[in-house]
Every structure is written in C-alpha cells, then in structure tokens.
Amino acid sequence: MSDQGMSGWSLELLGAAKQRLEALGLDLARAPEEARRAAEAAHATLMSGAGVRSATYLLLILFIGIAVEWLYWTYAYSPLRAAQSAPALTPLHALRLGLRLLLLRGSGLLLFTAAALGASAAFTWPPHVHPLVVFATLFLLVLRAAWMGVGILIAPGRPHRRLVPVAPRAARWLAAALLAAIFLLACGSFLPAMVESGGVAAHHIASALRLAAYTAAAALLVALSLALFGRPGSRGAAGAARAPLFPRSFPLAMLVVFVYAVWLLSPRAAPVAAILAVVVGLQIGLHDMVYFYWHSEDETAGKPADREALPAIALSLARFVVALAGIGAAALALDTPVSALAESSSPWVGVGLRLLGVAVLALLAHGVWIAVRSVVDQRLSRIAPADPHQPPDASSRLLTLLPLLRVTTAVVLLVLLVLSSLWALGIEITPLLAGAGVVGLALGFGAQALVRDVIAGVFYLAEDAFRVGEYVEGAGNTKGTVERITLRSVALRHHNGPLHFVPYGALGSVRNTSRDWVIDKFNLPLPIEVESEKIRKMIKKIGEQLKEDTALGQHLMEPLKGKLYRVDPGVKVFRCKFRCPPGKQFDLRAAALKRIEAALKEMGLGYAAGVNTVIVKG
C-alpha cells in the first residue's frame, strides 16, 4: 500500500517536472518574439507624456534618496573614517569594527531606500510604473547591501579586517564571484518581476530571464565552490594546522546543484531548498568561522584553541542560531502560518514538524552539554591535581564535585532528550513511564541498597563531608585517602596501599582527619630527679626555636608546650602538645623530639631508664 503510494507520488513528481521543463523550453522559444513586442510597447510608452512624467518622478525620488543619504553622511562620515582607519588588533576586534561599519553604512543605505520609497508614494504615477519603481529600488537595495556585506565580511585587500577565514589571495576572487552571483540572483528575482509588472504580457520573457540568470548564478557558484574550497592548501589560516575532517568543495557544489534542480523542477519549493542549502553550507563552515576569532590570539598565547570554553559555546550557539534562523526563514518562505501548519492533517507535515522538534531539542541539549562540559573541563584544567601533602583547600571540593557534575549532567540531559524526543515524535511515554514504574518497583526492591547509596552520597557531598585527597575513616575500619568519588561509592586508599571501595550506604559516620587542624600529644618519661620547672622552660624554648628556625615550624598553629603530667615510681612523665594543620603532626613531632633529645643531652640528662632499681634496705 505504502509502496504504491510512494511510486505513485514519484511518478506524479516526475510528470510535473517534465511538464515544467517543457514549459521552460516553450518560454525560451517564445521569449525573443515577445521581447521584441514588449520593447516596442515600452518604447512607445516611454516616448510620451507618461514616459516623461515617470522619468521626472524617478529622478526626483533618486535625488531625494541620494540627498538624504548624503546629508546623513555629512554627519556620519567622521565615525565611518574612524572605524575604517582603526587598526584591528584581533579578529574579535575586527568583528566589532565590522559591526560598527555595518551599522554606519547600513543606516545610510536604509535611509536612501526609505527616502526613495517614501517619496515614491507621494506621486501619482502613470499606470504600471509604481511597482516597477519599487522593484527597481529594492533591486538597488539588494545590490548595495551585497556590496557592503561582502566588503565588510571579506574585506579584500585588508587581511586584518577579514571576518571570515579566507586565504588572502582568494579573498578578491571570492568577493568578486560572490558579488557576481548575488547580482545574477537578484537579476533573476527582480528583473522578471519588473518585466511582468509592466502593462504588456511578458510571461515568457520573465521565465526566460529567470532561467538565464539562475543558470548563470548556479554555474558560477558551482565553479566557486570547486575552485576556492577545494584545495587543502587554499584553506583559511584557521584550518591550516588541522587535519582535513570533511571535504568541503564537493558537498557545497552539490548543494548548489541540488537547489538549482529543485528550482528547475518545482519553483515553489526552491526557496526552502535554498534556505536548507545555506544552512547546511554554513554548518559545514561554521567551525572554522567561529574558531577563526580565537585562533590568532591563542597562537600568541601558545595554547590550543580547541580546549577553550568560549569558542565551543559560541560554536554551538552559532549552530543553533543558524538552524533556527533557517527554520524561521523557511516558514516565511513557505508563507504558511505556523498555527495552520500544526493543524494540517498531512502525515508528511506532521512527521516533518516532529523531526524538527527533535532536532531543536537535540540542538538545545547539545548546547547545554557543550557549555557545561567546557566550563567543567576548563575549571578542572586550571586546578592543579590534589597534593596529598597540602591541606585541602576550596579547589579540592571543586575537584570532587566537577567530574560528578559532568557525568550527572550528561545522564540527565540524555534521559531528558530521549524522553522528550519520544514525546515530540508523538510516542506516548506515559505507558512507558508506567511500565517502567512496575518494573521499577521490582527493581526498586532489589536496588534498595543502590538507592540508599546514591541518596546518602548526595548528602555526604552536599554536606562536604570529604573531598578528594582527604584522609577519612568510616564505619567498619575503612580508612584512607579519598581517591575517587562516584555516584554510588567512594574509593579510599589505605596508607598501606589497599583501596577500599565503600558504598555511601555503608560508610556510616565519617571521621575526617584532614580538616582544619589536629592536636598532637606525646609523653616524655624523665628521671625522677629532674627539676620540673627547668624541663617545662626547656620545652617551651624548643617550641619557640622550632617555630622560628625551621620551615616546618611555620605550620605550628599553637606552640609546643610541655608540663609535668604524672609521677610514677622513679619516673616523671611530661606531656607535650602542639596544634598544627592536618598531616603535619608527624614531621613536627619528630623534629621536636630530636631537639628535646639534644637539649637533654646538653643538660646532662637522658630519658628515664627503663630499669626499676629496687633498693633493699638490708
């Protein structure tokens, strides 16, 4: 059934195409004769009072347009010169200057057009002349806009002002060919309209003119894409160092041929095809065009632009904007109000709209993903890897959370995208979710522990219980330095080497020994004869020396102090303590002990001997 529908549709299309080609041939054959008659009629009209009146009014509106624009330039010329003569330091700066030029020159052009068109409305034109004048003014507008746009974009002869990546030698050719192509296209769309708006029947001429102009434009564009984008050597500066990813010239040429063929077969579909082709062509070149603006800056800085977040975001945004603009332009070109489109019963329209929706969703998700990923990557690359000997600072929390955030974003985006795409495609997701609910119930019982782990993990992270690089002790004798944090578990490296994988659910109360400070205490057993006060002063002095003399001593947060703690038979036990950042206590204690021992030796003392002398009074 569908097979037959398909073939029938193809046959219909081919039949229509054949008719259309035959009509074109007929137009070509009849055009010269018709042109002769039309020229005679036009000459007769021109050489009369009506012709003189039309010419007078035409010159009037031209003069008014030129005068208004000239008046504008007497004010705007100085800013224009400033924008033209300012040196462009970077491509981004060139872009800003280019936009300023566009604004200045575009305003002049718009003023000219508005003044000419506005003035034309004030006159009573002879019949059929006013549309002709309006078309001619718009034609002029398109040509001048193309001249201005190509001049600003490609800036032939001013490499620093170029806004697109084009090799210097190719710039002039590209500019000239683009202008010629735009001129031909404008001829193809305006001249026939002008011819047809005259009083005489001129359908065949219009058709032949269109055919000639569009054929020439298509040929020119095909030649342009094959000649300028073909050779690897002729690619823009931005692409020079990169390996060629994708052929450019051939698809571009094919796009042109495709649009031309569509126009040949069905002129009504041509605008949409043209928009599609422009969107695809832009998407092909967009990477180079966007990275062009960051390239030369990074060349001096010596880091690859591909790692930067900004161009990646800009690129994805640009892709999105180009696609949306294309869709908008296509909707405009089709001249169908969107509301009517949504109510259309044709299955093709429905499928098309839904695919469009999916594409928009995918683009959005891609944009968000690129933005999150580049920001995360950039932050991560800026933070140095965690040093276990340094106290963890704010960046270690980022180091903990950022990779997690990246993965979570990816999963959430993917799930959302899949679900909303299904919904956009018209597939009911409610039963799916409900089904998932039933299965989920079953799974849920099984995955209770998993859920507990994940939820517990969220709270651990939210409360900042530990970060990568910290030494923690959990329930069940699990301890070690935090190495990796995932959604479900934490990996702890024991100081002897083994790696514990502890699910958050089993982590229990966490003892984090790497936060803020620690207090270290140790005992000094000394012989019972020593003078307590002397020892206390000695330890205090050593504490001060330690703080001042050594690099290690800087870490002391509270100085080393000692006092008599206990008196045992034959032994006086002194207890020393100090406060320092986590991880420093071991080294500090060793240093303190070393100095105390030296000091004791100097005083002629030693630690209490471990021998209890029993004196038996006999």
């Binding site: 021109l46 009369s48 009072g49 003189v52 009014y57 400033a82 003569s85």
Partner: protein, 375 residues
C-alpha cells in the same frame, strides 16, 4: 605657484556663475508648480538676462572656463587616488556637456529659426512633453547631474569656512529644495501643457508649424552636435591620456614613505604624500581630498624634508591659517621626489571639516598653537 591658486580661483568663480544661472533657471521652472503663466511672467527676470547680451557672454565664458579648467585639473593629476565624492563629482561633471549640448543648441537654433518660439516656456515644454520626449530625458538628467555636481562643489568649498556654522543650516535646505521644486514644476507644467494641447487646436497647430520649421534644420543641427560631442570626447580623452602617460612615466621609479606607527606606503616618484597614503590604504585625514584647502592632512616631516617638493603659495597660506608649526607640510601638496621621507600624521584620520574651520580645537592644532604661543 601663484598660477595654481589663480586657476583654482577661476574654476571656483566660473562654477559659481554657472550655479547662479542654473539656480535662476531652476527657480523659474519651479514656478510651474503654480501655473504656466506664472512661469512665463517670471522668465523675463530669472532666465532671460542670461540669454542675451552681457549675461550670455558671462555664461558662455564661465562655461568654457569651467569646462577647460576641469579638464586641466584631470590632466594635471598624478594618480587616480580619488575619494568617493571626487569620483562622483568628476563623473557627473564629465557627463554634463554631452547631455546639455542638445538643449543649448536646440534653444539657440530655435531662436534663430523662429524668433520668439524658444523663449516661450509653454512651447518648449510642449515639444519636450509631446513631440520629442527624448530631449526631455536628456534635460532631466542634466538638471540632476548639474545640480549634484554644483552642490558637491559648493558644499566642499563652504564647509571649510568658519562662516559655515552660521549659513550651513540655510544652504543645505536650499541645495535640496531647488532641484526638487524644479522637477515638480516641470512635471506640473508639462501636465498643463498636455491639457492645453488637447483642448486648444490652434495653439497645437502653431507649435506643429514651428516644429516643422526646426525639423528642416535638424540635420545640420545633428551634425553640429555630433562634431561638438566628438571634440569634447577627444578633449576628455586627451586629458586622461596625459594623466595616464604621467602615471606610466613614473611607474618605473617606485618610492616609499614611512609613517608614524611603523606604517609604510609604496608609490611613484612625484606623487603627493596623501596620494601615497590613499593608494596604500594608510589612514590619513583629508577633508578637502587633496585640494590644499583644509589643512587636515598636514604632517610633520621627520626626515627627508629636502626630498619633498617646495611648498607653494597655496600651501603656505593654508599652513599659516591652521597655525602649523615649523617642519610641517600639507601631505596633499608635498610631492615625494626621493627615498627616505618619514612623516608623522598630526590629525586623526576621522578629522572632519570642523578641523579646518577651527584648527585649534583639534589635537594637532593644539600642539601647533602651543608651539606658537611659546615662541
């Protein structure tokens, strides 16, 4: 160099005379907005004085002087580094004589063949609107071209004068209004004439007779016109040929000029510094496009002052007017004769006419004024 200044003054004066005539003529045409009769009534005052006696002589002399000095200016150029305004001015000016000659010749001959015919607006308009619309087209273009040429010339001369601040607000509306009103008057009167032709057979017959009489001499007229146009084209070609020869001759002597900020510009022997800048896209202020009037292109010569052409009277006057310091030259007048010239541009490239009217308010001018007050 006194001659150079004299030539400029003569071109300006002849242009002003021509513009006065055109303004009168167009003002007369614009009366067609009221009625044909009104137009006719004012003709004696506005147009007729220019068509006889001293008026005619003045007009003819001014036309000849302006045209030949214009061609001389083309021939005296050293390069084609022109601003957009200059290109427009030149193209419009060159297009005017071939377009206008038909009108001039036809009006003169018609007067000779049937006295009183051509000096009647109604009859001339009838010819234009009904019998020979081709001449009407030529006329329309002449009006717009002449006026644009004149307006550009007048504006770029007056805008540099301090008086522009007071009269600018008055001159610009007049520059806009005159041709618009004239063309509207032309259209309105044309419609009136067409109506009269349809309703007044006797008048129509009278015009037909006159047209017939002129048609007899059309052949000679056409021959004369063709000869005149060819002569003119030959003169234009000669002017451009002299310019081309000069460019070609100096092509073999390439030179370079160094600017502040490390810019360099290549050019030919004999070009002015400003032409070096323009040919190489070096930002350089030039409000009067190299006529030596505005002083905005002035540079301080850092080295190689002896390799520049000596300053003329025009340059000295302008430099004195803008209070230029020692060692400063007008880039548009100083021609480069040898290697080793280095200059510093004194005004930013976006300097506008106010820099010529009030030089002390601009950076280069301030420095110069300060230097002057010190000495």
């Amino acid at each position: 160099m006194r001659g150079e200044a004299l030539i400029r003054r003569a071109r300006l004066a002849s242009g002003l005379v021509l513009m006065a005539f055109v303004t009168c003529h167009l003002a007369n045409l614009s009366l067609g907005l009221r009625s044909l009769a009104e137009m006719e009534a004012w003709r004696m005052l506005l147009t007729a004085p220019w068509t006889r006696g001293a008026g005619l002589w003045l007009l003819g002399a001014a036309g000849t002087i302006h045209l030949s000095l214009g061609l001389y200016a083309v021939a005296a150029r050293r390069s084609l580094a022109l601003s957009t305004t200059d290109v427009m001015q030149l193209a419009l000016g060159l297009a005017i004589p071939p377009l206008a000659i038909a009108h001039v010749v036809a009006t003169a001959t018609a007067n000779a063949v049937s006295p009183g015919f051509a000096s009647n607006y109604g009859q001339i308009l009838a010819v234009y609107w009904s019998f020979a619309p081709f001449y009407a087209f030529l006329q329309l273009f002449v009006v717009v071209f002449v006026w644009m040429h004149a307006a550009i010339g007048l504006y770029s001369w007056l805008v540099l004068k301090p008086v522009w601040r007071r009269i600018g607000g008055l001159v610009i509306p007049v520059l806009f209004a005159v041709p618009v009103l004239a063309l509207l008057g032309f259209a309105q009167a044309g419609q009136e004439v067409l109506d009269k032709l349809a309703s007044d057979p006797a008048w129509k017959q009278m015009i037909l007779d006159n047209v017939g009489r002129i048609a007899k001499v059309t052949r000679e007229l056409a021959d004369f016109q063709r000869a005149a146009i060819w002569t003119y084209l030959a003169a234009v070609a000669a002017a451009f040929a002299i310019l081309g020869a000069r460019i070609l001759r100096h092509r073999r002597r390439p030179l370079a000029v160094a600017y502040d900020g490390g810019a360099r510009a290549g050019g030919r022997h004999g070009l002015s510094i400003l032409e070096f800048s323009r040919l190489n896209d070096v930002p350089h202020a030039h409000v009067c496009s190299g006529r030596g009037r505005c002083g905005t292109c002035r540079v301080r010569v850092e080295s190689g002052a002896d390799r520049l052409s000596a300053p003329g009277d025009l340059e000295r006057d302008t430099l004195a007017r803008v209070h230029a310091g020692a060692g400063e030259r007008l880039a548009c007048q100083a021609r480069v004769l040898d290697e080793g010239v280095a200059v510093t541009r004194l005004l930013p490239a976006f300097a506008d006419a106010s820099a010529a009217r009030a030089p002390q308010e601009w950076p280069g001018g301030q420095a110069a004024a300060a230097a002057e007050s010190r000495t």
